[in-house]
Amino acid sequence: MESNNSQLLFFQHIKTILPEHISFVDEIAELLNISNDSAYRRIRGDKPISFEELKKLCVQYKISLDQLLNLQSDAFIFSGKLGNEVNFVFENWLQEVLKQYSIISSFEKKHIYFLLKDLPFNVHFEIPELAAFKCFVWMRCFSGYKVDKGIKFAFDYPGFEEHNAIGQKIVNVYNTIPTTEIWNTEGINTTIQQIEYYHEAGGLVSKEQAFILFDKVEELVNHIEKIAEVGLKFKIGEKPNQASPVYRLFNNELILGDNSLLAELGDMKVAFLNHSFMHFIGTRDKTFTTAIFTNLNNLMQKSTLISSSDERNRKKFFNQLRNEIHERRALLT
């Protein structure tokens, strides 16, 4: 009988979780507070288990029923932390980013593919002034973050040291992972708009600060041009060495990216989608990650590789970014 099969498989799954020396039937009987005979009937699928029993078993053995049962091809399990609306802690978000990159970095075979609409959020930590500004913006974008609206931006705002310390770790870990990024010339727009917005919005960013920030964006762009030129990742102010991972940069003139990320970890792939501005949800679903990977490969075929080779197009691309920065800087009032 079909129904028995599913229940049977569910109990078989639990059995694989238990240490060998434990009696499976005794364990189930004790947990569900039933006799050994009743436990047998359930394990064999002769008697259906109730919702309440199902819950007890799932909680005890940390089983995700969604993962166990949703075998349909158009349903995917994503995971991610959204933070606690009541007591949001920005540092926890930074730590989560660090944790995810550290997991990727821990694999011998690894690669990150980034389809960007903005500068990769983590590269702002290369420059303390930009890190301070982006943290200022991000904290205001998070749901649940309580902010005093009148507080003006400062490069050394209270808490910056802690944020920057985690940010430095993120940069260090990110720079150990071979990466392919697909950009276009609009990648710097968001950061520029944010500088303009907070400068115009009640002067939360002063004119002097805005000038510094524009200069720092240019400094970051210059650094990215350098790593694209050598095709290797290294920290700003440093030089590549033999251990430096590969950096590939593509310019795609047709599409605008969506900040999605695909990570290869050994033989496994994980896709991360960006949502609610600064959050990412990830899935290891094979069908889904394969679809994302195929799409990325198609996009790369239609893009221009401007790292390691094609100096002409690389210069043109980065000059366009610099021109945009200069024009917008000149418009500051």
Partner: protein, 334 residues
């Protein structure tokens, strides 16, 4: 009895996912292949449902059992298509969209929040040339159809069935109140596609390009009118007494991500765009409340340009038109 209570609640959750005109018992009877009487007994909790039945119902209605049983694991179920199976992608794509909008229309309370990073696709459906261009772009550059490889685009290549279906989708969407948060960059996507195809000589003639720019101008006039009146209506028509409300905001701080939040009755659904063309959705309550919160934050940082804010609205639409004009001039200088 505890068991029955959980079972009753499980069926109540499924009922909330069905359009109001659908009978829960009939639906359950069909899915579980049992009589309506047997379905009633299960719905009332008189007869326990089997593990297999739970699985069938969970899969059919995309109910998160982890969420239902309060198994906290930071997981969210998303559902959605990764590919298209039928012979005509456009028909399948439009029909999926139409089903979603028609489902929402069945409820008294409905509202769509949209944070577009390009002009909402359904807006193009009311202008046949723009709709044709959008589908051409999808098939050629996103789905990489082999038979599109050497194909060129002409505004004359209109497909009657697609146009009719597209207008039907747009008309259905226009009956659902919505809130959209745009930025000046929202128009960049289509302008980028046109300019890329121009550079790679995908257009049959220069007139095709000019026609698309003209049609985009026309669409902006319509959208500006909708914003001015705060009502949704079909292109070339006037709002009727049942017109749904339209709220439009201008935001220059956050870039859109094509995220959609739909309020349907007392439930919410979040749609996330992925792989540039596909959408996946979740009914996860926690996730959806978080998304709503994000929309509220975005709205607080935005300027309302529908119904009120005439000066900002005029400046905003002028900004969009200026971008089109710059591209038009670039062609004239070629």
């Amino acid at each position: 009895m505890e068991m029955n209570n959980s079972q009753v609640l499980f069926f109540q959750q499924i009922k909330a996912l069905l359009p109001p005109n659908i009978s829960l018992a009939d639906e359950i009877a069909k899915v579980l292949e049992i009589s309506t009487d047997s379905a009633y007994r299960r719905i009332r909790g008189e007869k326990p449902i089997s593990f297999e039945d739970i699985q069938k119902l969970g899969i059919t209605y995309k109910v998160s059992l982890d969420q239902f049983l309060h198994l906290h694991n930071n997981g969210f179920i998303f559902a959605g298509k990764l590919g298209y199976t039928s012979g005509d992608f456009v028909v399948e794509y439009l029909n999926i969209m139409l089903q979603q909008f028609e489902f929402m229309r069945g409820f008294d309370h409905k509202h769509i929040y949209f944070l577009p990073n390009d002009i909402p696709t359904f807006a193009y459906f009311q202008v046949p040339e723009l709709a044709a261009f959008t589908f051409f772009y999808y098939k050629k550059s996103l789905l990489h159809y082999e038979d599109m490889k050497d194909m060129k685009f002409s505004v004359k290549d209109l497909h009657e069935e697609h146009i009719k279906l597209g207008i039907k989708v747009q008309s259905s969407f226009n009956r659902i109140p919505s809130t959209e948060i745009w930025s000046l960059d929202t128009i960049n996507s289509i302008l980028r596609h046109i300019s890329f195809y121009r550079d790679t000589q995908i257009f049959e003639t220069k007139e095709d390009i000019m026609c698309l720019y003209d049609k985009l101008d026309g669409l902006l006039i319509h959208l500006e009118k909708q914003a001015e009146l705060g009502l949704k209506f079909n292109h070339g028509q006037s709002p009727d007494k049942d017109a749904a409300t339209y709220r439009m905001y201008y935001n220059d701080l956050m870039t859109g991500d094509n995220c959609v939040l739909a309020e349907i009755g007392d439930k919410k659904v979040t749609y996330i765009n992925h792989n540039l063309i596909n959408f996946m959705y979740t009914r996860d309550e926690y996730f959806n409340n978080y998304t709503l919160n994000t929309f509220e934050i975005a709205i607080r940082k935005s300027t309302q340009i529908s119904l009120v804010g005439e000066k900002a609205r005029v400046r905003f639409f002028e900004g969009l038109r200026k971008k089109i004009q710059l591209q038009r001039e670039a062609i004239n200088h070629d």
